[in-house]
């Protein structure tokens, strides 16, 4: 089956755009909803991220703090993350 090259290019462009948007999309996981001033502080702390379409999700497993996910990157500022780091440190100690 032959695909129209124009259609193929357009589809490719759409997919790339979608992927780019998904990659740039900032998802913030927190235990409770963040106040606007907290969000502003967060934006100031991470000026490189695209906060315009940021999504804030509630996740009780975080305990407290936030987990920021951008594409394949994760910035863990949560208590659960700290506990995980602590456990890793304990495992590393002989």
């Amino acid at each position: 089956m032959k695909i129209n090259p124009k259609l193929k290019d357009e589809l490719k462009k759409i997919l790339i755009d979608k992927l780019q948007k998904e990659q740039d999309l900032v998802v913030v996981y927190c235990a409770d909803s963040l106040e606007s001033d907290e969000k502003q502080v967060l934006e100031k702390k991470f000026p490189d991220l695209n906060w315009t379409n940021a999504v804030y999700k509630i996740d009780r497993s975080v305990i407290a703090g936030v987990v920021i996910k951008v594409g394949s990157k994760t910035i863990d500022l949560s208590l659960s993350g700290s506990l995980l780091k602590l456990s890793n440190t304990l495992y590393e100690i002989d």
Partner: protein, 169 residues
């Protein structure tokens, strides 16, 4: 002669008779008997010589036997000493081998024990860490109310200095 009572004829006859008797005895009795005696003596001498030879031969054979026995004894002694040395060497080798084997077994056992100890230590440590973290996690979840959580979250965000590791998935 007749007055003396000696008969001359009889005397002559007796002398003749004696001479004849002497000649006959000498010829037919003494000579063969002497020859027989000489022969017997010769035979006896030969027998003695033979006996002497046999005796000498026996002595020689006895001496040879004694020498052979002495030689055998010496050879036996040499062989015995050699065998003893070989046995000693074999014994030393066996003892060494046994000691090496025992050391290997000891080392293996020690290693195994060490591995088991480490495994047990890791297991216990893993359980302690998991249990501790579970307790802390549960305690934090149960003790922190919404206000406290928000306070903690605000504190973490405000005090973030940008030193955190960024994880790539």
């Amino acid at each position: 002669m007749e007055n003396l009572g000696i008969d001359g004829k009889l005397l002559l006859a007796q002398v003749i008779n004696f001479v004849l008797f002497f000649i006959l005895v000498k010829k037919f009795v003494v000579k063969p008997f002497t020859a027989f005696l000489n022969q017997e003596r010769k035979n006896e001498e030969e027998k003695n010589k033979l006996l002497e030879k046999l005796k000498k031969s026996e002595e020689a054979s006895l001496e040879a036997e004694v020498k052979a026995k002495e030689k055998m004894k010496k050879e036996f002694d040499v062989l015995f000493v050699q065998a003893k040395k070989e046995a000693q060497s074999l014994r030393t080798d066996l003892v060494k081998q046994a000691e090496t084997d025992a050391q290997e077994i000891r080392d293996k056992s020690k290693k195994l024990l060490e591995e088991e100890k480490n495994a047990l230590y890791r297991d216990v440590k893993d359980k302690i860490v998991k249990t501790s973290l579970m307790i802390v996690d549960k305690a934090l979840k149960e003790s922190l109310d919404e206000a406290s959580r928000k306070q903690v979250t605000g504190y973490i965000i405000k005090n973030y200095q940008g030193k955190l590791k960024v994880y790539e998935n």
